[in-house]
Symmetry: C2
Subunit: 457 residues, 2 copies
Amino acid sequence: MNMVHLSRFPVQFGRRLYSAPASGAIPAAKKKYVPTSGTYPQGFKVSGTVVGVKPSNTTKPDLAFITSDRPCAAAAVFTKNKFQAAPVTFSRNLLQLRKNAGLQGVLINSGCANAVTGKGGLEDAEAMAGAADKSLGANKATIVMSTGVIGQRLPIKKILDNVPAAFERLGGSHDHWMSCATAICTTDTFPKLISKSFGLPSSPSTEYRIAGMTKGAGMIHPNMATLLGVIATDAPISSTVLPSLLKNAVNKSFNSITIDGDTSTNDTVALLANGAAGGAEITSESSEDYRAFQAVLSDFSTDLAKLVVRDGEGATKFVTIRVEESSSEEGARRIASTIAKSPLVKTALYGKDANWGRILCATGYSMITEPGAPENEVTEIIPEKTNVSFIPSDGSAELKLLVDGEPETVNEERAAQILEHEDLEILVRLGTGKEKATYWTCDYSHEYITINGDYRT
Amino acid sequence: MNMVHLSRFPVQFGRRLYSAPASGAIPAAKKKYVPTSGTYPQGFKVSGTVVGVKPSNTTKPDLAFITSDRPCAAAAVFTKNKFQAAPVTFSRNLLQLRKNAGLQGVLINSGCANAVTGKGGLEDAEAMAGAADKSLGANKATIVMSTGVIGQRLPIKKILDNVPAAFERLGGSHDHWMSCATAICTTDTFPKLISKSFGLPSSPSTEYRIAGMTKGAGMIHPNMATLLGVIATDAPISSTVLPSLLKNAVNKSFNSITIDGDTSTNDTVALLANGAAGGAEITSESSEDYRAFQAVLSDFSTDLAKLVVRDGEGATKFVTIRVEESSSEEGARRIASTIAKSPLVKTALYGKDANWGRILCATGYSMITEPGAPENEVTEIIPEKTNVSFIPSDGSAELKLLVDGEPETVNEERAAQILEHEDLEILVRLGTGKEKATYWTCDYSHEYITINGDYRT
């Protein structure tokens, strides 16, 4: 078997157009986020294969194949963008047809998004799934994903011709998973893969495992940011409850991160459960096992989603926005997301500037209606009850910036120390209720502009 | 009278922290937007005075005084931000108290926003208005505005001490208006002032005049972008219909521009009408004069608002987003505003990149609900009916990028030519109805990051 050993076969990570490290290696500061080993779920085999979807790519795996040796329950959440890519349409339809059961594979290409490609694009997505099914000896059992350039057709022959090779390379080792996680990346500077073991109340002696990979927001013209994620577990979970487990987990993880607020045409996160580890199947949303797995999956999804923010384009900061004491969860969520997306907040973070005025400003406009629409009542925000603090990542005491609507005299030296760290938490306490929400974001740097304003000359 | 002749008294325009022209003069490329003469409404006298609200400022007028020799009908629209600055609260209350009639002055300082300053800040706003009233021999007749640093108290004594000087300097010449328009600026690179004459159907022989000034999005830590605008006319308009005239005009002008999507705590646009030119008063929303003045005011406000975008922080492009053939006006507006705010679109424009994928992507996510909320039905967007084109600013033929959902083979040379111009129009035709909306925006450049990430060292 032609295993890809990353150590022997250096992949061009960190090779964004704007600042290519000469080595093509993973940036030193990011190495700590890349595991050197893992505990992977039983019954799953994966591979990454160099296809050359982009003709210029001759070294980076760009076809990822995730398979199970037995049928899985499978669920996926897709972008709500009205312009949905062909693989999104195809995979959504397939999961509906199969009622979330009987799936065995996920085939993913990077380098071309197969988006806005019309009827031909849909045929390409079907052909990819068909080739994967054939190699697995299955029927209508493979969902597909694509990420990369929009508006271009896939080099479909090249991909189809390589599916047998992708099948031949399948394996369950750490290197296999790493190669597979590498294959879904585009301009990410490091592959995003995590795995862990967990237990379930009903089978205390069984070790269950979960592994997942994701890719972040990166683009070289004319791509757009795409988020893809695949999570696999050997826990036994019924197809009837899998969709709700995934949806709950994604809402507070992948749906709570932002790089630039732009929602892609291809975003997809899929969850496969093959039950290979044995034990009682989770069939009811009211069972103890369901709640236990929900907690595991939610935490796991959050860890995975955070890696996307860590690798945000041009990002120098990893920022957690916590909004607490809100009179509504929706309000807390909207305020957190507005702060997380505000260009003024994001540039201030880049500038290491304790600019609570911008945080407050974003809070203040987060709940207002569009111009022209009637004014709405906002019960979540009462200026006199609003508190804003920085929570340092080194565990030291919080730095209060605004207390009950009154500005604090900020110790600038202390603020500067806190903002020197890569990680920061911004805590907004609204004082109007008990609901809360968390968002994760990064800063806007010159490199963000360079990457996305990339001249095509 | 101590008139400020700009020609003799060079003001430090163009002096943004990040790229100060050595001369402190208006950048050459912006000079065409600064008038050298004007036709100003009768009965209004204005001034700009150097107060030194920021101690470092010793040369730029920073106190603007707009007065009428007789009581005016007055209306204003204010920010919807929940954290409203003291001058916003004060002026809103005053206009309510006066029922939009009997106003005679607007006093504006730059350099300090008097925002998030508690009870003391409100007292400062009252004191400013009181000093202006006293100089005018009026009572409860002056509204106030502030723009600049947030969270700091005004140097109120300095301001109050200078109100008599501001009154002494009042005059109606072009230089007076230019000095006044200069006084409301912060890091704008040029003053924004326009004026024009118009007629009304009921008084065909009367020449009416309208003049207005505005300021744009600029900040030096820890300011936030503030939009202020004052429009004065000598047409006779009843206080009962003035608010609706202003609201209608602002919705399609000031409320249809974006620099970065951040809505400030201080945004205010005021309209004063003193009737000094004579003729029949406009008292009914169904009159021909009302409709005629609405058209004049809407166009005028649009011209004024566009100047703000022209001077957007770090902007190299002036971009009109037109969304047409929508099944709803609200939808058209939201799509236009989403494209206008998208960091991916704005960086592509900076990079002169004909990246229709990003325009389409923003269109596709503009109507979707927040994560966690149920999916909504979107009738405005049908991918197969969507068209995207660039309309060149030189009057040459449109460049079609997407036709009925199918990508065009784009002539890259032609696209590059079109994108070389400062001005560009992006036209999105939805093919689902007859409603439309227009937004104006600028690009995101490295300078935007530099300005707003401004290190405080």
